[in-house]
């Protein structure tokens, strides 16, 4: 499998809103920790190294 780059989230606005809402009342440090945990949780869910590495490459500045 390769990285899914087509739309895969059924309700984009709902998802994005939740993501931003989550951070609204957090300090910068709490946000950083939350983001790190989110990446780890989702990465484990995906599991496939190939897909993860592809995403990492795409995310690089």
């Amino acid at each position: 499998m390769s990285l899914q780059l087509q739309t895969n989230i059924a309700k984009p606005d709902s998802f994005y809103n939740r993501l931003i809402d989550m951070q609204r009342d957090l300090s910068e440090e709490e946000v950083q920790m939350m983001n790190a945990k989110l990446i780890l949780l989702l990465s484990n869910h995906i599991g496939e190294e190939e897909v993860l590495f592809e995403a990492m490459d795409l995310a690089k500045p």
Partner: protein, 536 residues
């Protein structure tokens, strides 16, 4: 400070060659009598090579150094006849716990597979290890151990190295066909030859304390990230023999190394860790900075580098001495074949090839552990702490916790000495892998497979009828045959070597698989011996 150990002082003796002024040519000279030089001496003697060992000092390793020794080096020391006092005196352990703040984040069990002679891991102070090896060296006629002999300079041509040595009686010269440089991380030999030694120095310092205390702490490896008694840093507690405990404290880069090791600073730190009512005494305290680096190649002409002189790793994972011993395992038989004119110098290049490969594996593992323990940036610190927090509750995050991946051998799967599999086999014991041990019976007595392999080439024959010894270019491989030479009482040999349908293994003198087949075929065995010895 307390002393649970009396450091022996070995006698200096002037050598006959220095006394007479005669220039002698030796087959092998070893520089340095640390754990690797001493192992090298025993290995050479085991191969029948007379060997001289030079050390600028006259005692064993002083202070807090290696603690943990893994199964593979123990197997090598067992082949050389020195493992039993180590295992007897050492502390066997198998459980490791990792704490984040005050909570248990992760626990591992080395869960050693049954049916191996050597334990998965022992803890033993480095001075005991060296003392036992010195005792054995002194028993061996082929080993000439010379204390207070310092290498001052070295020069070499195509087939000879000339060494300039200083002793309390002055300076003299010796010649050597081969030199094994085991003179440690600050190797003088390496500097004299302009050897390239590069890698990474970690911007962190560690306080290493050996503490004597009697208590009922379990014999486990305890590692803390960010503990309450030492905020924002890490700490380690591990048992050694004689009720001595090894304690490491990460200090950070800004710490003052001299101040940190003063008892008035160390004792309060230990009290916070151990509790007020735990009685202890300091045995030794030092501050270290760690590095991960290696030489570009391990052969420079007639000089072969082994142990810390060739590669240095951070101690997370206990890989330093463990991997150095495996360098020697790889080197001894190759030197012997070359000295006997049975293998060209390329065989010594395969030493560099195989052990550079292993060093890179060790460096990678140690660097990864160090990056986890001492994160290099604010955001890597966030990821590290996120892993630790998640690990408390969620199983998935636990394997990401890295407080040191303990030393295991690196199979030489890509080695140019291997003959590739032609027949179908399960993947374990592929060419380049070190042989797994197994219990066997020999003429009615229980024994271990590894005690019957090694030292020279062997043909391990499992469930296959045809078999006889094979000679190729002066190199002989004798037969070790199931049913004739040993019985596989617990069927573990057949299992571990995938031998139910018949198997013929060509085993190198360092107990590594060179080639394997389902059927005995003399021509193929000869070709595989030639390949494993670089004969052409």
């Amino acid at each position: 400070m307390l002393n649970t150990y009396d450091y022996p002082e070995f006698d200096y003796q002037q050598s006959a060659e220095q006394q007479s002024g005669e220039l002698k040519r030796h087959p092998v000279v070893i520089i340095g009598a640390g754990p690797i030089g001493l192992t090298a001496a025993l290995e050479c003697a085991n191969q029948g090579i007379p060997v001289v060992v030079l050390d600028d000092n006259n005692t064993v390793s002083i202070g807090s150094r290696a603690v943990c020794y893994a199964k593979r080096p123990l197997e090598i020391w067992d082949r050389l006849g020195v493992a039993s006092p180590m295992v007897e005196k050492g502390i066997s352990w198998q459980v490791g716990k990792v704490f984040f703040k005050e909570k248990l984040a992760y626990q591992f069990d080395l869960l050693p597979e049954q049916g191996h002679k050597m334990p998965a891991m022992i803890n033993l102070q480095q001075y005991y290890l060296e003392e036992y090896m010195v005792n054995e060296c002194e028993r061996q006629e082929l080993i000439d151990l010379r204390w207070k002999h310092k290498l001052l300079s070295i020069s070499q041509n195509h087939d000879i190295a000339t060494l300039v040595i200083e002793t309390p009686d002055g300076v003299f010269n010796m010649e050597a066909q081969w030199v094994i440089a085991c003179d440690g991380a600050n190797s003088d030999t390496r500097k004299m030859l302009g050897g390239d030694f590069s890698g990474q120095f970690f911007q962190d310092r560690f306080l290493i304390a050996d503490v004597v205390m009697k208590n009922d702490f379990p014999t486990e490896r305890w590692f803390w990230f960010d503990p309450v008694f030492h905020k924002n840093q890490s700490a380690l507690l591990h048992k050694q023999s004689d009720d001595v405990w090894r304690i490491d404290f990460q200090l950070g880069w800004d710490a003052d190394p001299e101040g940190a090791k003063k008892p008035e600073n160390v004792i309060p730190l230990l009290k916070q860790m151990l509790g007020d009512d735990c009685e202890f005494e300091l045995e030794w305290v030092s501050v270290y900075q760690f590095a991960c680096r290696r030489m570009d190649k391990f052969r420079y002409g007639r000089v072969l580098f082994a142990g810390d002189s060739a590669h240095q790793v951070s101690p997370f994972g206990a890989r330093g001495a463990n991997t150095g011993v495996q360098d020697i395992d790889n080197l001894g038989w190759k030197l012997k074949l070359n000295l006997d004119g049975k293998a060209p110098i390329e065989l010594l290049d395969s030493y560099s090839e195989e052990r550079v490969f292993a060093a890179d594996d060790n460096l990678m593992n140690s660097t990864r552990s160090t990056d986890f323990i001492t994160p290099k940036s604010k955001s890597s610190r966030v990821f590290r702490d996120a892993v630790l927090q998640l690990a408390e509750k969620h199983e998935f995050a636990r394997p990401l916790v890295n407080s040191g991946r303990l030393s295991t051998p690196t199979p030489y799967l890509q080695s140019s000495l291997n003959s590739e599999d032609e027949d179908a086999f399960s993947s374990c014991m592929a060419p380049g892998t070190n042989c797994a041990d197994a219990p066997i019976t020999v003429s009615g007595h229980s024994s271990w497979l590894l005690n019957h392999l090694g030292g020279q080439f062997k043909l391990l024959i499992i469930n296959e009828d045809a078999a006889h010894s094979v000679e190729q270019g002066g190199v002989k491989a004798d037969v070790l045959k199931l049913g004739t030479d040993f019985d596989d009482t617990e069927r573990l040999v057949s299992q571990r070597y995938d031998g139910e349908q018949g198997a013929v293994y060509l085993i190198r003198p360092d107990q590594h698989v060179a080639a394997r087949w389902r059927k005995f075929d003399e021509a193929k065995i000869k070709a595989a011996i030639a390949k494993a010895c670089c004969q052409h």
